[in-house]
Symmetry: C2
Subunit: 190 residues, 2 copies
DNA sequence: GCTGCTGGCTAACAGCGTTAGCTGGATTGG
DNA sequence: CCAATCCAGCTAACGCTGTTAGCCAGCAGC
């Protein structure tokens, strides 16, 4: 699993091949099947490793701050393994490491006073946002694919499509602010 | 392109093969290359078709309502082509149809009074959220993959992981509320 | 009526995930 | 202490993938 994640980090997700992974391990491809049922399991293992690598900073008691720390830790882990993000994003979460993340988040929401159902919904929204933004960030970095539009047809879009890394940080900050403000409003309404 | 999207809708993204697509068109696989440089172009075409299919309901003047209509129209198009969502999500947007969507959204944000830079950021957040949630919804539907956790280790997560379609609608509603409330707060601050 | 283009075809290649079956060295049991 | 067992590697091979090369029928225009 470790070797697989390293390979993905180094060469990208498409380069992860039974044969290439085997080569990294100084072994032939079919030998891998003595340790793993199929490639799916390797992809699951990669997800597991990334989730396990999420570290959430210890911060104060205010839930806004804690939510920020949570989302931020999640995001950092994703960006540390950019090439693995498309794998994570298209795979249902059902592993040990991801469950732990879910658990602590639900506990946080419960602490603030949300019922279990609402907590789960809020968490799904938060996770979708973090993953969605990471995905967009990864997608447009290898989109040196000359994506400039015709300024006559799209006067607004043509000038503003591209995002720098700093932009992405700012966008994530905005997203977090929106999430916390939205949650605050919901909790006040309840 | 049309045939490719139909095939993906019917049999899933993994089933889209040069040979399978050719068979649907009563043709042999290599003939496709007379019309298309490679498979990538077909995937781009699929994205283009889905984006072109987005219809945004005509609603009142209030921007909250209009944002909802926008996100909702986007989401409906994605859910109409569930199997295509992983393709869309892992592909940078640079096509005609997607540009049009970007353009109208930026115009809306400008109308409300945001500067171009902020508008672009807000839009990125909105799109990431819609895509991220659609992705999660698609992912957990084919996750009949028995993903129940050990209740001792994860008391909260174990009971609440699964989402029904109605749940997902509710979650999307929550997400939209959070986005609008967050944006309102930002616009008030500015 | 010949020329050339267009869009199909067959054959083939390298690389993919995966299976079957063999083999040598370590580990265990009597 | 030798024999039996198991384990983890190996080679060979299958059917599938995207893609290229090269051929050929039919239609267009001069």
């Amino acid at each position: 699993m470790r070797a697989a994640l390293d390979l993905v980090d180094r060469d990208g997700g498409a380069a992860l091949t039974m044969r290439s992974l085997a080569k990294d391990l100084d072994v032939e491809a079919p030998s891998l099947y003595k340790h793993v049922p199929n490639k799916e399991a390797i992809l699951d293992g990669i997800c597991e490793l990334v989730y396990a690598e999420v570290v959430i900073d210890e911060v104060g008691e205010e839930w806004e701050e804690r939510l920020r720390a949570y989302a931020d830790g999640f995001r950092r882990a994703l960006l540390r393994h950019r090439n693995a993000v498309p794998i994570l994003a298209t795979r249902a979460v059902a592993t040990e490491g991801s469950m732990l993340l879910v658990e602590v988040a639900l506990a946080e929401f419960a602490r603030v006073g949300f019922d279990a159902e609402t907590a789960r919904r809020l968490l799904n929204v938060v996770v979708a946002t973090v993953l969605g933004m990471a995905l967009a960030e990864i997608a447009d970095q290898d989109s040196a694919r000359t994506n400039f539009a015709d300024p006559d047809k799209f006067p607004l879009a043509s000038v503003t499509v591209v995002s720098t890394p700093a932009d992405r940080d700012a966008e994530f900050d905005i997203a977090l602010t929106m999430l916390t403000e939205g949650i605050r409003r919901l909790s006040e309404a309840a």
